[in-house]
């Protein structure tokens, strides 16, 4: 069985802080990590590999420094790592990103594609399902349990108030939640091998020329565009009232109504 896990290198947005003086984000010194949902995808693939002998390839579209994320995946135990990198891919929204990744996937034999549900920087949760559409394969998202047997995927698909137990034939795509498992650490030997003996294969536009429509690449190929971005203001002292309980309640109710909270 061949599994391809799509991963993204992201800044650790849980570590990002607001500069109280300027109101902007402090981005320097923020470590880059493998997106947590994607890491769960790698772990899921490695467990299937341990159980069934599957072959696991990791694929990432990103700038050259995403090499470190792929090395980490190699150090965790995946069989191959491919970095899809090219200036032409830059500025892509989810349509362009998914088109590019799908073009690469068309050149890799796969039975199962695993993506993370959502990246902690873009926060869209769109790329996985869009890849599945480009490839014309079924998708199961919000997967909290995953098993593979005889060419079928058995998954638990979570909703807010219920879950489905799903059976779907391969090839298919699954999006993983970080809650799916506790990913393993890299091993010492794995890290040494990742840098010394093993390779990250690099693909550029030239390598997917025959499977991608250039109109779908990068900023120009993106239907959505960012018009502006801004930080939420740091909280300071707000309005303060020293009043009786009834009046306090009136004030609070007015505020809650105004904010559509009730």
């Amino acid at each position: 069985m061949k599994i391809v896990v799509c991963i993204k290198q992201v800044p650790d947005t849980t570590e990002v802080k607001l500069d109280p003086k300027t109101g902007t984000l402090i981005r320097e010194g923020i470590p880059s990590i493998i997106n947590p949902d994607d890491k769960a995808g790698i772990e899921a693939a490695l467990r299937i590999k341990e159980e069934t002998g599957a072959n696991v390839t990791v694929l990432s579209m990103g700038p050259p420094q995403a090499d470190a994320a792929l090395r980490e995946a190699l150090a965790m135990g995946v069989d191959e790592a491919i970095l899809l990198t090219d200036r032409a891919f830059g500025g892509a929204d989810t349509w362009a990103t998914s088109s590019t990744l799908a073009a690469a996937l068309k050149k890799i034999p796969y039975d199962l594609v695993i993506t993370g549900r959502q990246a902690i920087d873009g926060d869209t949760a769109q790329v996985g399902p869009q890849i599945a559409e480009h490839l014309g394969i079924p998708q199961v998202s919000y997967v909290s349990e995953l098993h593979v047997k005889d060419g079928y995927v058995a998954a638990r698909r979570d909703f807010e108030d219920r879950y489905h137990l799903i059976k779907v034939a391969c090839p298919c795509l699954v999006t993983a939640l970080a809650e799916l498992n506790k990913p393993r650490y890299m091993s010492v030997g794995g890290i040494m091998d990742a840098y010394r003996d093993r390779q990250v294969t690099v693909w550029t536009l030239a390598d997917i020329q025959d499977t991608v429509d250039p109109a779908n690449l990068g900023l120009k190929g993106s239907p959505t565009k960012v018009k502006k971005s801004f930080t939420k203001a740091a909280k300071g002292s707000g309005e303060k009232f020293s009043v009786g309980a009834d009046e306090a309640v009136t004030i609070i109710m007015e505020k809650l109504r105004g904010k559509n909270l009730i």
């Binding site: 091993s187 010492v188 030997g189 890290i191 840098y195």
Partner: protein, 380 residues
Amino acid sequence: MDFQLSKEHEMLQKMYRDFTENEVKPFAEEVDEEEQFPVETVKKLARYGFLGIPFPKEYGGQGADHLAYAMAVEELSKACATTAVIVSAHTSLCASPIYMFGSEEQKQKYLPPLNRGEMLGAFGLTEPGAGTDAGGQQTMAVLVDDHYILNGTKFFITNAGYADVYIIIAMTDKSVGTRGCSAFIVEKDFPGFSVGKKEKKLGIKGSSTCELILEDCIVPKENLLGREGEGFKIAMRTLDGGRVGIAAQALGIGQGAVDETVKYVKERKQFNKRISQFQNTQFQLADMQTRVEASRLLVYRAACGEDCKQPFAHLAAMAKLYASETASDVTRRAVQLFGGYGYTREYPVERMMRDAKITEIYEGTSEVQRMVIAAWMKIN
């Protein structure tokens, strides 16, 4: 001279930190309070290769180097000095001498299980009457047919009771002083071998420190490590490597104390400001970090010296001397900066202060280190 870590070492450091934060730090307090050997943690360490870092793959090791090993001990020590010394004693004092002095059969037999953490290692040199005066060995080994019979007691042995393999130094020829010592690979199940009383200690309380009792202990001839008479040389060379490990432990303790203190002083308010805003706090911490940074350079330099197969005994001695005295100094100052809270067990700095002290003593006291350095300087 490149002071940058290579990409592999950076990634190793990242893994060590993640692992320590999630798998070691949460248990550090309990390990100390309960004086509990962290059995589950050791299994996890084994799984990720911590117990075979500097040895080649052909012997089941991780194929990394002594710098990687020192960094592992450093990172573990920031959270839990007990966990760190388990790794250090196992790697430097047991697997290492087998790797350096063992026959091919011995290496093939013992190194793979030790490196995979299927077996844990320890080292027995110290005796009730032979501490700094390590040459005053009383444990005897007599060759009878195809085996040796060992008699004697070893004292203050780290990992005792949990280890499967012990490197034991014993006298095969009393008439020639230290040139009459030999080294043996002793398995815990050899007849006549037992583990005695466990010590109650000031610090590294989770580390199992016990007496070893050899009562007509039968050790097969094949388990002589190196040649008869080489035992003392093996022990001294082993301790040189061990010193790098302990220096790394002291380094980690010191850095861990500084990190905890920086966190605390940014939160604690007195006189209407955070105590981090007082100049004394800042100056103290600046001194503490500088000394820790200096320790780091000595430790890494010694580890690299060992990797490059340069003479490194004096570097190891300097690293251990400086890092251990720094750890004691820094942890003491950390408790002072915490004030009353630092004296309670609610915060980790009192434990770090207690843990630091042993690094000035074991694997060669600071006085011994000074002897080594002075000898290297050829002052006499």
